[in-house]
Symmetry: C2
Subunit: 471 residues, 2 copies
């Protein structure tokens, strides 16, 4: 039986069989993805208040063969939360399931429902003198269920890992309405297949995560932050390894920035700090954090000194919290400048860390050969091999003039990525934007297995139809 | 079609269709598990030399409906590698696939085949001035493919995670002969379902891991090691949190030991060190590691001082490498003493870290109430909430006299574990020993999903029949 469009009659059935207060017509905010790439259509928004209501919704959807698009904060960048074609489906938002159930400083565990906003998770951990390290631009509106469903990354992955590494257990509703009660708080549990890891990153196609138990960490007692000018990405990589040798896992951030980022800020965000008199071709924002007595500044200096003959040109070390925030503002406002300029094509790629310099060396000239009237702003999480590699019009140009080149640019970036053993989606996921890329670049064996798993857990294809796997 | 016993005719077919040099009759070493709990039967041992031969074996097994038991180092403690009943199956050992393909210090990645012995992986990393942190008693004979298949734990999990956390990618053969080419070296890759995490810990029931790319870390430049006497497990836990506040992720080991462990050593391993004049009721082996300039001893002292009024009674800090090794010898020789005494029942349980004291307080009296003629040696990875909780005969007694009490003791330990939200297999897995426990204590939703996944990827039930899931 194919999926049925959620027409007026079927909508009526939902309203009759459940508390109608949980249903409404979704306003436009639910249907647009943040970069304006897609506008979806959905005739019905369900906002269940607890696990039981989610189960009931899923069972009814099953009975009527109606698709469900799970929705958390709506901040995903690949259209995983926005359905644009296929039989009209229900939007299921977890926003009302937003209780923090427990914060246990002794266990270093926080248990919360899927609809809690990421910044609220961070704040609850901080209130218990602990750190929840997942940190990303959209943290003020992203919800933890979506962060887990997409295995979100961000600026502290180098030390703490992706969202999946921060999660001890999940509670989830599977496509047949079965509840997976996996909210354990265990650091070790080798009892059968790791369903948690299968659900995390499956983008709502295998289950709806309704709650999670999350790892907390000691809050940093000391910090040291530097903006380091390096000769080139190769020197940045050398610096990373020297730093690790000195300060090891205390490195919480290692963010590469190119001159174009600073220029974009100067052009579009003039109130953003410009810490250097002359914009450096390449620079790295480094931050360390530790417990008491870590003497991080001293050790950071020692590491920088050891790197001085190896491509480190200059370094500013933050002398105050204000200066630290200025350094971070450079990194964090680059995406804002990017948006104001308007990218022709944005890429979230990863390659093995050691291949980052080669990736940059190869890709730029290839793109320039297609027409030099572009600007490339390459920045990102060097320690993870993850670059945000974005292509923009020449100064004064408009992205609309470049529409015809979008595909060629995207293909070029993805082909170099693939040739270097990389990934065309490092942290944003597949959603609906990259289903074709997954088919093209994904391992065929993996695709076969993914399809078999999808069929096994969701034979009707009810959950997030068209996302991740088209068929 | 049910599985066919691998009789002489079918064996002949294998030998005819492939190079017969890879087949032999398995000697007894392959058929016994280390604790002597099971002796398996298998009429044919295959020792393929490369991926292609594994694929061919799997395809032939498929054609003939013959089961395959994957075999790595044979050191598992739950019978996952030993088939005792059901239609005779082929033993497939990866021991000849033992090449280290690459050690890349810049990427901090090591790529090797599944048959490489764990100690050899560690040594190859060390030769590149790096650390591969997976470390456990059987490292001299365990093979990395088995460590991954069972998601092995060990003594450095607190800082570095389980085997799954140390693995960036796997190459594996699925039950239909499909190759999953997932040997990426990426720190971030959000392209579809995480098949790697599904295979890791599935104990050879979903795929045969043939190679892996592994994470390396900076080698420790400084270390500090202490044996700390604490009032009770509660005080040990308080110490752990104070330590984390001071030295954070530099804690590489935090191992709890009870007086019984020291007494067992005195009784059965008299050449083992006894660092204390009087055996402490409870003690913790703490080790820290860091990069250059970590001043670990100083910071360790500060943390211990902060804990002095909170249940820390005494502490010995290793003043030399020799003393450090003595401290470790206490911890590492306890399993040897245990073996010499002979446990009635051994348990590898985990509970939320904060529940460890309660677990200990509740379980002992319950067991004693069944008959006080027992001794309990409880030790393990407190930082992970993982205890090896082993029950022994009274001094001079023999385990054979206690056979009738085995089940009651096991059930009691597992029931308390379950009541505290714990796991009846923290690091050893399910294998064939604990299939009943999984059925009893596992989440029903998880079991349903596991069965659906098993059917989807291995509809004939060829891979490791009877392990993890009985049906």
């Amino acid at each position: 039986m194919p999926l049925q469009p959620l027409d007026a009659t079927l909508q009526e059935t939902f309203r009759e069989r459940m508390d109608p207060a949980i249903f409404s017509l979704p306003d436009i905010g639910y249907l647009q993805e943040p970069r304006g790439r897609y506008t979806g259509t959905s005739p019905l928004l369900a906002r269940p208040r607890d696990l039981f209501e989610v189960v009931t919704l899923v069972k009814l959807a099953n009975e009527m063969d109606v698709g469900i698009v799970p929705y958390a904060g709506g901040t995903g960048l690949v259209g995983g939360q926005v359905m644009v074609d296929g039989p009209a489906a229900m939007l299921l938002s977890v926003e009302r399931m937003n209780r923090i159930r427990d914060v246990d400083a002794r266990d270093n565990v926080l248990v919360c429902e899927a609809g809690v906003i990421l910044a609220d998770v961070q704040a609850a951990a901080a209130a218990a003198d602990r750190l929840f390290p997942l940190s990303l631009a959209a943290e003020g509106s992203a919800r933890i269920g979506g962060n887990l469903a997409t295995n979100a990354g961000g600026v502290q992955v180098l030390r703490y890992g992706n969202a999946r590494d921060l999660c001890l257990g999940v509670e989830a509703v599977l496509p047949d309405g079965t509840v997976f009660n996996g909210l354990k708080r265990l650091r070790k549990d080798n009892t059968g297949y790791d369903l948690r890891h299968l659900l995390i990153g499956s983008e709502g196609t295998l289950g709806i995560i309704t709650a999670a138990s999350l790892k907390m960490f000691p809050a940093a007692r000391e910090r040291a932050t530097a903006l380091v000018v390096v000769e080139d990405p190769d020197a940045a990589l050398t610096l990373l390894n020297i730093m690790r040798d000195h300060v090891d896992d205390t490195i919480t951030a290692f963010e590469l920035m190119s001159a174009e980022g600073y220029r974009f800020l100067a052009e579009k965000v003039p109130d953003a700090p410009q810490p250097f008199a002359e914009i450096p071709a390449w620079s790295v924002l480094v931050e360390l954090g530790s417990g008491h007595g870590g003497r991080l500044e001293e050790r950071l200096m020692a590491a920088l000194e050891a790197a001085m003959s190896k491509g480190v040109i200059d370094a500013l070390i933050a002398q105050s919290e204000g200066q630290r925030q200025d350094f971070w503002a450079v990194r964090e406002r680059i995406p804002e400048a990017n948006r104001l300029i308007g990218a022709i094509s944005s890429h979230d790629i990863s390659v093995p860390v050691s291949k980052v310099p080669e990736f940059i060396k190869r890709t730029g000239p290839l793109l320039m050969a297609m027409g030099a009237d572009i600007r490339i702003n390459c920045f990102g999480h060097l320690g993870d091999g993850n670059l945000h590699y974005n292509v923009f019009p020449a100064k004064g140009g408009d992205r609309s003039e470049y529409e015809g080149r979008y595909k060629a640019i995207k293909d070029c970036v993805h082909e170099v990525t693939d040739a270097l053993g990389g990934s065309v989606s490092a942290e944003h996921g597949i959603g609906r934007l990259k289903t074709g890329d997954l088919e093209r670049f994904g391992d065929p064996g993996k695709l076969l297995a993914m399809r078999a798993i999808k069929r096994a857990l969701d034979p009707k294809g009810l959950f997030n139809p068209g996302a991740v796997l088209r068929v």
